[in-house]
């Protein structure tokens, strides 16, 4: 076991596994967000469920650990990888041999991290730690997250940041998804193609899904 943590592959596996875990979180996240399109009541009930359900509440710290592991190990690996080529090549042309996203996972991850901070402070922090309006749905009082979100998405530059974040995330997942399966060894010639197709599909769904919701609110705001 100690060999696992000492070796580069062990570290990679942690990045991959935590990445897949975060990926599953993002799918849940998107599903909840899609309630926004269904209307105020649905979304607020969904949000209420997510913030009060004991199972979700216990998963939340695990999620935080997932983020920390993913980020910490990525930073560490990248730092080590930076030292492997002290003298750089004068001319590098990797356009034919690899995808742009695969070469820029750290940059993408870093930008997503910046976005994450903005996003957390603007949504999760507000929702949990500031006073926002309450509303009654089905006889129960709950926070009116819907209105909070709608007001954020009414700001054009916030939507721009949000859509950018979603697209960056899409690129990150596009490589990250099949890469994670490769790293944990669940891949071969055939499955690599399958993971790539599935990854492409899901990353587009995720990037488009988050973006469409934000744009929907912005357009709704502009029209009204």
């Amino acid at each position: 076991m100690s060999n696992f943590f000492k070796a580069s592959i062990g570290r990679k596996v942690l990045v991959g596994l935590s990445g897949l875990f975060l990926f599953s979180f993002i799918l849940v996240h998107l599903t909840v967000n899609l309630f926004l399109l269904a209307g105020q009541e649905s979304y607020n009930i969904a949000t209420h469920f997510m913030t009060t359900n004991p199972v979700i509440q216990t998963i939340e710290p695990i999620l935080a650990v997932g983020f920390i592991l993913h980020i910490a190990y990525s930073v560490w690996l990248t730092f080590l990888n930076q030292k492997t080529r002290p003298q750089k090549f004068l001319k590098v042309d990797q356009s034919k041999s690899s995808t742009w996203a695969s070469r820029n996972m750290f940059v993408l991850g870093g930008l997503i991290f910046v976005f994450l901070i903005i996003h957390i402070s603007n949504f999760w922090y507000k929702l949990n730690f500031t006073e926002i309006g309450y509303i009654e749905h089905g006889g129960e009082m709950m926070k009116d997250a819907y209105t909070m979100v709608a007001s954020s998405f009414a700001i054009w530059w916030y939507v721009v940041i949000y859509v950018a974040g979603a697209v960056l995330l899409g690129f990150h997942l596009n490589h990250g998804f099949q890469s994670a399966f490769q790293t944990i060894g669940l891949s071969n010639e055939i499955w690599r193609k399958r993971w790539t197709v599935i990854g492409n599909f899901l990353s587009i769904v995720i990037a488009a899904g988050f973006s469409i919701i934000a744009l929907y609110f912005l357009i709704k705001h502009l029209i009204s």
């Binding site: 076991m1 060999n3 696992f4 000492k6 070796a7 580069s8 592959i9 062990g10 570290r11 990679k12 596996v13 690996l77 080590l80 990888n81 030292k83 492997t84 080529r85 002290p86 003298q87 750089k88 090549f89 004068l90 001319k91 590098v92 042309d93 990797q94 034919k96 041999s97 690899s98 995808t99 695969s102 070469r103 996972m105 490589h175 099949q178 890469s179 490769q182 790293t183 944990i184 060894g185 669940l186 891949s187 071969n188 010639e189 690599r192």
Partner: protein, 245 residues
Amino acid sequence: MNLTLKIWRQKNANSKGAFVTYNLEGASQEMSFLEMLDYLNSTLIGKGEEPIAFEHDCREGICGSCSLYINGRAHGQDSKSATCELRMSRYKDGDTIVIEPWRSKAFPVIKDLIVDRSAFEKILEAGGFISANTGAAPEANSIPVPREHADKSFDAASCIGCGACVSACKNASAQLFIASKVSQLALLPQGRVEAKLRARNMIAKADELGFGSCTNTGACEIECPKGISLAHIARLNREFLKATL
């Protein structure tokens, strides 16, 4: 045809190198890339300058001696081929070609375009073999190997140890090189006995020698002269997990 060649010159391992630009006249499209360098060297010797040191031997893509990072790509612009297989017909009159040695911490430059690749040997020493003494072998057909496994094992074993994977990799990772050996032997019943130790020790050695880790960009597979598949890295990862967990 006439070419502008920007070539890395470095007197020895301890000296600082620099690019030198050569204008080569009279090269022909019928030459191979290495013959073009031979020709350049003959003109340099004629002018009383020192010829460029570069490695080559079989010149048919199997010995793995040749290297060279040409215009930003390991073994030049053709995928899945070695520098010695590159033809000048891929270039045209007036082209500028940048020629660099492999660059990574684990492959220090010895002179001009020659690097020291003995780090590969050290990785293999950590377990890239089956411990079968001469004379101890059983009758060959007593170990049947499913044809599919034998074929895959061959594909992995076709590695020529040139180091293109390390150069093509943005992290200078030797993962494809290690995977080719681990996978070749893991696929054969003969090699299963030591499979665990092999994966674990070879990875540990590569880490120690200053190779990077794999981020699955896949560049190595494209630039590998033998086109060794990334699937072998997945198998290496499996073997590693089996060995350590």
